[in-house]
């Protein structure tokens, strides 16, 4: 349990079962559909696809161009299927990007996996637009005052992902080693990727 799974009312569980069984009887829900979802998310690779795209963009300038021009086509190069437009925003020494959905919780599931609970809660959704630097500080992220913060409120069916800055001291790392450095939160834009301890 824990934060991901608040203690849910047994009424809710009964209601879900009721709706599930009624929809199966009506031929709307396939009897094995729930098991398929469970299997799919047991094998969920989390943010792996996004991390691969970021590491490739750091290593290959031509791929970086493609990722920024058309995120959906660029992640498809890794076999990723995104059924909406994917917009990738690149962090620079001048600009820091972060992603939110104030109206619901739109999130780039295909590239980042299941959304974290905090992303869906009102505390993040309400404050990311009015006090982003304060929110970033709660994630331990300090953005220099001269750096602009751009907040992307995902109000349409386009999805947003951040291309974080490559940490210093990683020039000698292979693309595979870079993948392991890329975190989910850095691609939402609430953290930056620190210089790895091994290369300090």
């Amino acid at each position: 349990m824990g934060k991901n799974h608040p203690n849910v009312d047994s009424y809710v569980v009964s209601r879900v079962r009721a709706l599930e069984s009624l929809l199966i009887e009506k031929g709307i829900l396939a009897p094995d559909a729930v098991d398929a979802v469970v299997r799919r998310y047991e094998q969920d690779t989390g943010p792996l696809l996004g991390a691969r795209a970021v590491a490739r963009a750091w290593s290959d300038p031509a791929y970086r161009e493609r990722l920024l021009a058309d995120g959906r086509a660029a992640v498809a190069e890794f076999g990723g299927e995104v059924d909406t437009l994917l917009v990738v925003k690149e962090n620079t020494p001048e600009v820091h990007h972060m992603v939110v959905c104030t109206l619901c919780s739109c999130y780039p599931w295909p590239v980042l996996g299941l959304p974290p609970t905090w992303y869906k809660q009102p505390a993040y959704r309400s404050r990311a637009v009015i006090a982003p630097r304060e929110v970033l500080r709660e994630f331990g992220t300090e953005i220099a005052e001269q750096r602009e913060v751009r907040v992307w409120d995902s109000s349409s069916e386009m999805r947003y992902m951040v291309l974080p800055m490559r940490p210093p001291g990683t020039e000698a790392l292979s693309e595979e080693e870079l993948v392991a450095l890329v975190t989910r939160d850095s691609m939402i834009g609430v953290t930056e990727i620190p210089q790895p301890a091994a290369v300090r």
Partner: protein
């Protein structure tokens, strides 16, 4: 609608409850995800009807319940409205399972037939451009001051505020009609940049801008 879901800029929710752990789904949450997928796949509930179903939750219930409870409540509301589910049958079936909380409860029901309803092909949300877009990158615009009682993706914090077109993204299905059985009525979609100072006045943080995806009917020249 000026609903409880439109939280951008609100105060009082406290600090972000950050949890680094990888997310996972409980069984009942996986069932809700499967149900949502089935209602979408069969064309019973489109994405905008789904969202509007959630927005109409009782505000106290919305704020006091989890993300997948929102999904459950919204889906059930729309299914009842569309006549796909009899609310009395849903209540009765809920009571049935409430009396049989053990995992084998599902087996108490008759063996279910396989799903027969065909899938509706997913066409995405981008549609052909039939006329040139009204605005171009760099144009000054103002988000309309509007308070529709139905579904909209123009949050309150941006209404009446001046911004600049940052990008044009082609023609997209219009949620404001699509949520209400009024068709896709595709509209040009823009990324609009709003300076934080314009949105939040003196309480704005320095060097901040908010980018919002806005359909053309949300905007007027400024």
């Amino acid at each position: 609608m000026n609903g409880v879901h439109d939280v951008g800029g609100m105060h009082g929710f406290g600090p972000v409850d950050w949890d680094e752990g990888p997310p996972s789904l409980d069984d009942w949450e996986a069932a809700v995800v499967a149900i949502q997928g089935a209602t979408r796949r069969t064309g019973l509930i489109n994405i905008d009807e789904f969202r509007h179903g959630i927005e109409r939750m009782a505000p106290a219930h919305y704020l006091g319940s989890s993300y997948f409870e929102h999904w459950l409540d919204g889906i059930a509301r729309v299914l009842v409205e569309k006549g796909a589910i009899d609310p009395a049958a849903l209540d009765a079936r809920t009571a049935f399972f409430a009396e049989r909380p053990d995992g084998a409860a599902r087996d108490a029901l008759a063996a279910a037939p396989p799903a027969t309803r065909p899938s509706v092909p997913h066409r995405g949300y981008v549609r052909p451009e039939r006329a040139p877009p009204r605005f171009r990158a760099g144009d000054a615009v103002r988000a309309r001051t509007t308070h529709p009682a139905g579904h909209t993706r123009l949050p309150r914090y941006a209404r009446g505020r001046r911004g600049v077109i940052a990008a044009y993204h082609g023609v997209h299905v219009f949620p404001d009609t699509h949520a209400h059985g009024l068709g896709e009525q595709p509209q040009p979609l823009y990324s609009v940049r709003f300076e934080a100072r314009e949105l939040w006045g003196e309480s704005a943080e320095p060097r901040e801008a908010v980018y919002l995806d806005a359909w053309e009917p949300y905007l007027e020249p400024a």
